[in-house]
């Protein structure tokens, strides 16, 4: 009964979304107040019904209702309750439901915090979000119904992939989806602006905090995924240029470009067309990412054919969303004239360079991700585009980007002179150049070109950001929160760059065979193997090794790498033993038994690897600070009056009912 309620609630949510997608938009043209005012209750009702639907599916997972096909395929009663719950988004159907739920959540949030946004604009934004929701819920109901029942009820369900039975994977997908779906807000705002044919600073001020928060979720989601891959896959790697990772990186790169472009649109009324295009791209790539990961195309294009209905729906949906938005762009973009002009040496130019580089980076990733699929689809063979391709293109691009980034802080809007900028940057620039040569010499006793470049890039960004605060002439405590957010986020970027540089160039790993009591020394640390014991987990059996690690004769720590067996049908899982530290990680993975007391081990010394994720956390924090800046709340109230004037200008025949609605 409960699953049927969930199914029915999903159908109701779809019906609500249809109304929300059509009437407010229509009403915004014919001036019917009753129609535009359906947007807000529509958004709330859609959230309400989707939440019920979600709860019903969650309930089916918690009580092990194996008569529901999706539950039987992805969960069993031996799994701990937390993993049974997270199994909901462990596969295609459930994660789509989560997607739809989060979308309606964003919609309701926009509706709730919409005080300063004119009702016409709000109606259009919510309508576009409703239409996206219609697409997703149709997809769910037509091809991927999570509430489908089984006629023969199995006694036990199938296991969720043991790789996914992990705390990191409980929060990673929802966070990532928050980011993906959050890009729909910027997208909807852009659609609304193009439908209205007007885009001004007030618009950018509404769109900015939403875009920032979506970007924050995406940043943290990607970092969490990278961290999970690091400790769970047991290879000690933190980024694999895997198509699934690339799918999340592309919207992140474009999202980064978008938040910078939005800044120009707000402050200088410039880059308007560019901002719109980036918003469309960011959301399109989010959609592409969701589908690439969830349709199974990535493991093999042929799996696309295994369920043609799904594949076709996805293609048509992508075509409709991206095609219609670009069509609208083609017809309306010329109306959004940018007014602010700028000269060659100006912050606008710097941000333009930033945007172009980021766009090229995203295109690089897109090409590398889709090329093997295209080759495969055309039956020209199976190729894989590996890290060499990505590194060869992304690293130089990133270096150029980072060099420009430092200047960006000091260059004025509109027009600046090179000599004035140089006067202000010479100190951080010299300092970072010096540290680029001195630090590697002191700490690593060698000088590789990549180390110099990496250390320079990271210290340059960090110092530039810090010096900018110190030399701004204002008390750091009086600086707006948004400026602090920018500083924190850029220092986070510097930290990530430093972590990547050091761990890529100076990590060491070794495969060793150790008998009980034997030890091995790697990068100054002595690893002593003290035996393996068999343990029984909640739904797995494991071998658990004890490894004592000492440094210069002093015991540092003891780690317990495990090898887990989740029963027939699943691969053995490696649970690495990790001693995390600010400047280094010690990482031990347990291999195979080699007879007697001997086991094989993989030992890693990973200097500064934590910095990669700590940097991402700072970036997220910075983005959040920027989104919470007082200015957005204050200005929202002021923008009310401005917006009223705008609406009067855009509607050719001022409608008495409409003006009433805004006032």
């Amino acid at each position: 009964m409960i699953p049927e309620i969930g199914h029915f609630a999903l159908i109701l949510a779809l019906s609500v979304a249809v109304v929300q997608g059509i009437f407010p938009l229509w009403g915004s043209f014919n001036g019917k107040l009753a129609w535009t005012s359906m947007a807000k209750p529509g958004a709330y009702a859609q959230l309400f019904f989707l939440f019920i639907s979600f709860l019903c599916l969650l309930y089916a997972f918690i009580v092990n209702d194996f008569s529901v096909k999706y539950v039987a395929n992805n969960s069993n009663s031996q799994m701990p309750a937390a993993f049974r719950a997270s199994a909901l988004w462990g596969a295609h159907e459930g994660s789509l439901l989560l997607w739809a739920l989060i979308l309606s959540g964003w919609g309701s949030a926009v509706a709730f915090f919409s005080k300063g946004i004119p009702s016409i604009m709000l109606a259009r934004v919510l309508s576009v979000m409703g239409l996206i929701g219609v697409g997703f819920m149709l997809f769910l109901l037509m091809t991927s119904n999570p509430f489908e029942r089984l006629l023969q009820i199995p006694l036990q369900g199938r296991q969720l992939n043991p790789l996914l039975q992990d705390i990191g994977l409980i929060i990673h997908p929802p966070l990532l989806y928050m980011g993906y779906v959050g890009m729909s807000v910027a997208f909807s705002f852009s659609m609304a602006a193009m439908i209205g044919g007007k885009l001004d600073a007030a618009w950018a001020r509404w769109a900015r905090p939403w875009t920032n928060i979506a970007w924050v979720c995406l940043t943290l989601g990607i970092a969490l995924g990278s961290w999970w891959a690091y400790y769970e896959l047991g290879w000690g790697g933190w980024w694999f240029w895997d198509p699934v990772e690339n799918a999340s990186l592309m919207p992140w790169i474009i999202g980064t470009a978008l938040i910078h472009s939005l800044a120009v649109t707000e402050k200088r009324s410039s880059f308007k067309v560019w901002t719109i295009l980036l918003a469309i791209l960011a959301f399109s790539l989010s959609l592409l990412g969701t589908f690439l990961v969830r349709s199974g195309v990535l493991t093999s294009v042929h799996s696309f054919a295994s369920d043609p209905a799904r594949g076709l729906f996805i293609l048509v949906f992508l075509l409709v969303v991206i095609g219609s938005s670009l069509l609208l762009f083609a017809f309306r973009a010329h109306k959004l004239r940018s007014t602010g002009s700028f000269s060659l040496v100006s912050r606008e130019s710097g941000l333009l360079v930033n945007n172009v580089i980021l766009l090229v980076m995203a295109a690089t990733v897109l090409l590398g991700t889709l090329y093997p699929l295209i080759i495969d689809a055309l039956s020209l063979g199976k190729i894989s585009v590996g890290p060499p391709y990505f590194n060869a293109i992304m690293v130089p691009l990133a270096l150029v980007l980072f060099s420009v980034m430092g200047f960006g802080f000091f260059v004025r809007w509109k027009k600046d002179s090179m000599s004035r900028v140089l006067k202000r940057v010479w100190f951080p620039l010299t300092l970072s150049l010096v540290s680029a040569f001195v630090l590697p010499m002191l700490l690593a006793q060698d000088l590789k070109i990549m180390t110099i470049l990496g250390v320079f890039a990271s210290s340059w960004i960090a110092l530039a950001a810090l010096m900018w605060v110190l030399s701004s002439g204002r008390s750091p405590f009086k600086l707006p929160l948004a400026s602090w957010g920018s500083v924190v986020a850029h220092i986070g970027m510097a930290m990530t760059v430093a972590g990547i540089t050091v761990v890529s160039l100076y990590d060491s790993e070794k495969d060793v065979r150790l008998e009980k009591g034997q030890s091995y020394e790697l990068a100054g640390y002595k690893y002593t193997f003290n035996g393996v014991e068999a343990i029984q987990g909640a739904n797995y059996k494991a071998h658990r090794a004890t490894m004592d690690i000492s440094h210069n004769g002093k015991t540092v720590t003891t780690v317990h790498p495990e090898k887990r067996d989740y029963g027939p049908g699943s691969m053995p899982m490696t649970e690495a033993g990790i001693d995390a530290g600010f400047t280094r990680d010690l990482f031990v993975a347990l291999g195979e038994p080699l007879g007697g007391d001997a086991w094989s081990f993989r030992l890693y010394h990973k200097p500064f690897v934590r910095w990669i994720w700590l940097g991402a956390v700072l970036m997220g924090l910075g983005g959040l600070m920027a989104a919470l800046d007082k200015r957005y709340r204050r200005v929202r109230r002021r923008s009310l009056e401005v917006a009223q004037d705008d609406e009067k200008q855009t509607t050719n025949k001022p409608n008495p009912k409409l003006s009433g609605a805004i006032a």
């Binding site: 093999s300 042929h302 054919a305 295994s306 293609l315 670009l326 083609a330 010329h334 063979g381």
Partner: protein, 183 residues
């Protein structure tokens, strides 16, 4: 309307066209030059009894299938269930050709573990370590599946992992039809 704003739309349309072309051009329909010709000969050692060999000529008089797989092939894993079901349902001998896998430096005995974990649906598994038999059969990628009639003629080639619908709608009827033909 300014023409430059249609550029993104045009680029997107071109990309979409390419994708549609790729996906509607069903790669499985590309005819193999071997179809209608006698199956290329091979004599390969068996996985579990390396001292014994299996040849194509051993299969004469039977409708049989050759299924190329490898432990390193992700899609083979997806296909495995379908092959198992098909071989059980049709009681058809399927020779598993383990391609560039068992005994190689990188993969060692992964193939044995693979069969141990997932089950062995094969009538016999033969080892093509250096991929020479694969070349004779014109293999493009793994997995690939061939269906031979009683005379030893290649009658069908399936590129990529077999999915259940293809097994039910293409392979099963074909096998039944071939069984009715004269040997």
């Amino acid at each position: 309307m300014n023409m430059k704003f249609t550029i993104p739309l045009i680029v997107f349309a071109a990309l979409a066209g390419l994708m549609l072309f790729g996906l509607t051009n069903d790669p499985k329909l590309i005819p193999s030059p071997f179809i209608g010709k006698p199956a290329p000969q091979f004599t390969l050692p068996r996985l579990y009894k390396p001292e014994e060999t299996v040849s194509v000529s051993d299969m004469k008089g039977k409708v049989w299938m050759l299924n190329l797989w490898a432990s390193w092939c992700v899609s083979c894993r997806a296909e495995h269930k379908v092959v198992t079901r098909l071989s059980k349902k049709e009681k058809i001998p399927v020779i598993g050709l383990n391609y560039k896998d068992f005994g190689t430096e990188e993969y060692g005995n992964e193939a044995l573990k693979w069969l141990e974990v997932l089950g062995n649906p094969y009538y016999a598994v033969v080892v093509d370590k250096d991929g020479m038999a694969g070349i004779d059969w014109g293999v493009v990628g793994v997995p690939e599946t061939f269906v031979m009639d009683k005379k030893g003629i290649v009658r069908y080639k399936f590129t990529g992992p077999i999915y259940q619908k293809a097994a039910d709608e293409i392979l099963s009827p074909l096998i039944e039809k071939l069984r009715k033909e004269e040997g």
